[in-house]
């Protein structure tokens, strides 16, 4: 105890100390900036077309709460199990872990969470009924995502589809070796549980008129996707052995085994081309992929191309068809020209230019076209059409009152993932419309902040992390069926993560931009002004004693803290 009234030098301690609390001194009054916990957008979510809250979900898994992660992932996304199989996962290209041992296998994590949340207990609870009714034309990924989110928001939603089953391209365009159909069926069953009504085998414009839908419903969303196929524009393409890739694929995936030539050329470099070629291989046809640019420019998901090459599929790059050669009424070859690459075109890819006199035959008995699709818009009034697409602005609003449009038919993003994201975002707009509120801006990555407040104006890239806290941990191997086994069957090629593998992988996640209670801020605060909340997530900053030094911000490994100016 300090002698407060010393008489001699001996009564004074050897050095100064105070056994009063320094909390009396409110040094926090000095500051002009203060730290603030501000979750920011991680680079992965910034890239996610579907708006998944990746870092938060992975953090929950890493902490052992797989159920909460599964619930979070399915909160606005009706197709995580499907997307976990078919998404091109651009998130992984941007993953900051890429610089520390390899990107997180986010795609596999989504599949893990998707499969886990196939149990109805993970479905979110719908809000009370609003009495509003919404028609969705087209039961593909965009339409179902919109319907799911609107149903959860309390609206009565009816989905119209001309096929006998919903799912759109997920059902008709993606082979079972990538997406087993029972997975899709289970996800659609969950959507039905939210109250969405599916009216199948019903084509708008044929079985029910567009105007009738406008009259019966408070809002109509057009999500019909692509169906028609662009022609090759070469002589001989109307021969019966020249097939539309989308339609042929649809037949094969429905279980048909049409009589086909032994060798066939598949023209195109996108995902449909890959799906067609790999499906043909599985039913005993030898496909040859003909693509006019090089592998670099292929729009297909790179891993799908890798897998096709591993399965032994032959590729003719820098090659474009010039004529279908028909002898005695039969296709004998596809005459092609070699191409070279010129300057980049408006897509940013280098433009292919024919090499004069380079014609050569690719000997095949048939040709499949997979060079891009178009929408079938006959049922819409003229003002709702804009060439090959539905006319809609960035808030999905069409010129027709109460009618919205999203997905490939409106914007042609070309992936199931983008369609799901568009469905989630159009649902936001329509929900506001039905509630009589101002229509929100929903440009990506707006949807990343749906489940929790995130500062979407700041994306955390690797430069914003504190690299002192991360060591290299290698990316795990993804298990696949070997090419010999898989090329003869439609069994799923990629094998999912076990729970143990998923937890291990989640622990590799650096949780960029999101507080994960690592406590570094608390450890480093020289003023002991940061306190762990008891019984709740996160920390409180004691403003009376925080001097705004910023050490916590500097030492936050993941940039989940910001320094903000103190308002006087």
């Amino acid at each position: 105890m300090v002698d407060l009234n010393p008489k001699m030098l001996e009564d004074i301690p050897v050095t100064s100390y105070s056994d009063n609390s320094t909390l009396l001194i409110k040094t926090g009054a000095w500051k002009y900036v203060q730290p603030s916990y501000e979750d920011k957008l991680p680079a992965c979510s910034h890239q996610c077309p579907a708006g998944n809250d990746i870092s938060k979900a992975l953090d929950l898994i890493a902490r052992g709460d797989v159920a909460a992660a599964a619930r979070l992932w399915r909160a606005g996304n009706p197709f995580p199990a499907s997307l976990g199989r078919v998404c091109p996962h651009p998130c992984e290209d941007q993953c900051n872990r890429g610089q520390f041992g390899g990107a997180i296998a986010i795609h596999m994590m989504e599949r893990f969470l998707g499969d886990r949340s196939l149990d109805p207990e993970f479905l979110p609870k719908a809000k009370p009924a609003t009495g509003k009714k919404v028609a969705v034309i087209g039961g593909g990924p965009a339409g179902v995502a919109a319907a799911y989110n609107l149903a959860l928001a309390g609206h009565a939603v009816e989905v119209f589809d001309d096929k006998p089953a919903a799912g759109g391209y997920l059902r008709t365009g993606i082979p079972a070796y990538r997406l087993p159909k029972d997975v899709l069926d289970r996800e659609l069953a969950l959507v039905e549980q939210t109250g969405v009504q599916f009216t199948l085998n019903t084509r708008v414009g044929r079985d029910v008129s567009f105007d009738e839908l406008r009259n019966r419903f408070d809002a109509v969303i057009v999500t019909i996707g692509f169906h028609g196929s662009r022609p090759l524009g070469v002589p001989g393409e109307d021969h019966e052995n020249v097939y539309n890739g989308v339609h042929l694929l649809e037949r094969i995936l429905a279980g048909e085994r049409p009589e086909l030539p032994r060798r066939m050329a598949v023209v195109g470099g996108g995902n449909t081309a890959m799906d067609v070629a790999r499906s043909l291989l599985r039913i005993g046809v030898e496909p040859i992929v003909v693509y006019r640019r090089s592998r670099m420019e292929m729009p297909a998901i790179p891993t799908e191309v890798d897998e096709a090459i591993a399965e032994g599929i032959r590729f003719e790059f820098l090659t474009a068809p010039s004529r279908v050669i028909i002898e005695n009424g039969k296709v004998t070859a596809l005459e092609c020209r070699k191409m070279r690459l010129g300057e980049p075109d408006e897509s940013g890819r280098r433009r292919p230019i024919p090499v004069e006199g380079s014609e050569f035959p690719v000997e095949v008995g048939g040709v499949v076209t997979a060079i891009g699709e178009t929408a079938e818009l006959d049922f819409l009034p003229d003002e709702a059409r804009d060439g090959w697409r539905v006319a809609a602005d960035e808030r999905f609003v069409t010129p027709v009152e109460g009618v919205f449009a999203a997905g490939d038919a409106a914007f042609g993003e070309g992936t199931v993932t983008a369609a799901v994201g568009a469905g989630r975002r159009v649902a936001m707009v329509v929900d506001a419309f039905l509630g009589g509120r101002e229509l929100p801006s929903v440009a990506p990555p707006t949807q990343a902040s749906w489940e929790r407040p995130v500062n979407i104006d700041q994306t955390v890239h690797v430069e914003q992390l504190n690299p002192a806290y991360f060591t290299e941990v290698p990316r795990p191997e993804i298990h696949e069926l070997d090419p010999q086994t898989r090329s003869t069957s439609f069994d799923e090629v990629v094998q999912g993560f076990t729970e143990e593998e998923a937890i291990r992988e989640a622990r590799r996640c650096m949780v960029c931009g999101t507080c994960n209670e690592c406590c570094n801020c608390l450890f480093f605060c020289p003023d002991v002004a940061i306190h762990k909340r008891s019984g709740a997530f996160g920390f409180d900053i004691d403003g009376d004693h925080c001097k705004g030094c910023g050490i916590c911000v500097e030492e936050c490994p993941r940039n989940a803290l910001s320094l903000v100016e103190v308002k006087s």
Binding site: P6, V14, T15, D19
Partner: protein, 397 residues
């Protein structure tokens, strides 16, 4: 155990024997091999301590301050710019009365950039409240580091053990390294009275108002007065244990010396050769080697130098605008002598930035003074002369 080791190795072995619990250090030439040696010993389990790697010397000493406040025995080592960077916390360590031991390898301050020896770095820390011991051999380094812990922990003041760059830090010598049992008997575990106590939380180093600040400073100064006696006592105790006694200063052929060289550190070894030669030639020369410089043994030095004829004070340092620092200190100590007992004093500044101070140099200084050829109070030894000697233009041009 006899070992052939460098001065830096001597520090490492002495630290091992002192059983510190925390070492917090940052490398700098020519000190680096000290902490490398210690790091290896920690890694090999020869020292049971935490070795904290830090990003600067300031943090190195701050780490020691924190650990020592918690009651742990600590060690750090540095040199020149590193010591200067520590300066703020050097004051703190002393004011908090923490018996930290630091080895400083004397190195000239930049610019011009130098890695070679002089004493300006450590003497710039003269007034911080630390004790300072200047060593002349690797043997003395081993012995002084161990003694420093004992004295520091008795008087609650930190100590710098100082050795010359390269001449001592990197020169191999035959050294007697004591057995651990001997040192354990000599140096009990640290029991810091102001150690942090979780049962009694307190804020250390808090605001002290003018009505009390001077009392803390007075206690520090008194501790230095006490420390003079403790160094003397501990040096004798060490001598009884090992046969190598130490005093506050070392006197060589001083009994009847009329011409005295006062210096510190490794130059003293060279000086003994010169003193012997001068004695052979009939000059009554002697050597007074400064060892414990803070606390400063003024009374002892005054007694020793009273009635000598001439005293040459060799400084490997300079307080610019005045004299060499040892020169100033000796003069102030002798001021109290009656006029009749005052020797004639000459300061020589030599050997800065690692320049050799040879037998010939020392003979030149001593005989120059003895024979009356050197008359100025301060001489810069063996530097280029100025044409327009001692005009401002020389310094500015």
């Amino acid at each position: 155990m006899r070992m052939v080791i460098k001065g830096n190795g001597a520090v490492a072995h002495a630290v091992r024997l002192a059983r510190p619990q925390v070492i917090s250090a940052y490398p700098i030439t020519p000190q680096t091999s000290i902490i490398e040696g210690i790091a290896s010993m920690v890694a090999e389990g020869k020292i049971d301590a935490r070795f904290i790697k830090v990003e600067s010397e300031h943090s190195a000493l701050a780490g020691c301050i924190a650990a020592e406040s918690a009651g742990a025995r600590t060690f750090t080592a540095t040199s020149a710019q590193g010591l200067a960077l520590m300066h703020e916390v050097i004051h703190w360590a002393a004011g908090a009365r923490l018996p930290i031991v630091l080895a400083n390898v004397n190195r000239a301050m930049a610019p011009g950039w130098s890695i070679w020896t002089d004493q300006t770095d450590s003497l710039s820390q003269r007034d911080t409240g630390w004790m300072q011991v200047y060593c002349q051999s690797a043997q003395e380094v081993v012995d002084s580091v161990i003694q420093a812990y004992k004295v520091s922990e008795r008087v609650l003041l930190p100590t710098m053990v100082i050795l010359d760059a390269f001449f001592l830090s990197h020169t191999y010598e035959d050294v007697e390294v004591p057995e651990p049992g001997l040192v354990d008997g000599f140096l009990p575990p640290l029991d810091l009275p102001q150690k942090m106590d979780l049962e009694h939380p307190a804020a250390l180093g808090n605001l002290v108002f003018p009505d009390r600040y001077m009392e803390f400073r007075r206690k520090m100064d008194l501790a230095h007065q006490v420390a003079l006696g403790v160094w003397d006592e501990v040096g004798r105790e060490w001598g009884e244990l090992t046969g190598r006694p130490y005093g506050l200063v070392e006197q060589y052929r001083m009994d009847d010396a009329e011409l005295v060289l006062v210096t510190a550190a490794t130059t003293a070894s060279t000086a003994r050769v010169v003193i012997d030669a001068l004695r052979d030639e009939g000059v009554a020369a002697g050597l007074l080697r400064l060892r414990v410089f803070r606390p400063f043994p003024a009374d002892l030095i005054r007694t020793i130098l009273a009635d000598r004829k001439k005293v040459v004070i060799l400084d490997r340092n300079c307080s610019f605008g005045h004299h060499g620092i040892f020169h100033q200190e000796i003069k102030s100590a002798l001021y109290e002598l009656p006029a009749g007992q005052q020797p004639e004093m000459h300061g020589v500044i030599a050997g800065l930035g690692g320049r050799d101070v040879t037998v010939e140099d020392l003979r030149g200084m001593l005989m120059g003074v003895w024979e009356g050829r050197i008359t100025k109070p301060v001489t810069w030894w063996n530097v280029l002369e100025a044409k327009g000697a001692e005009t401002g233009a020389v310094a500015m041009g």
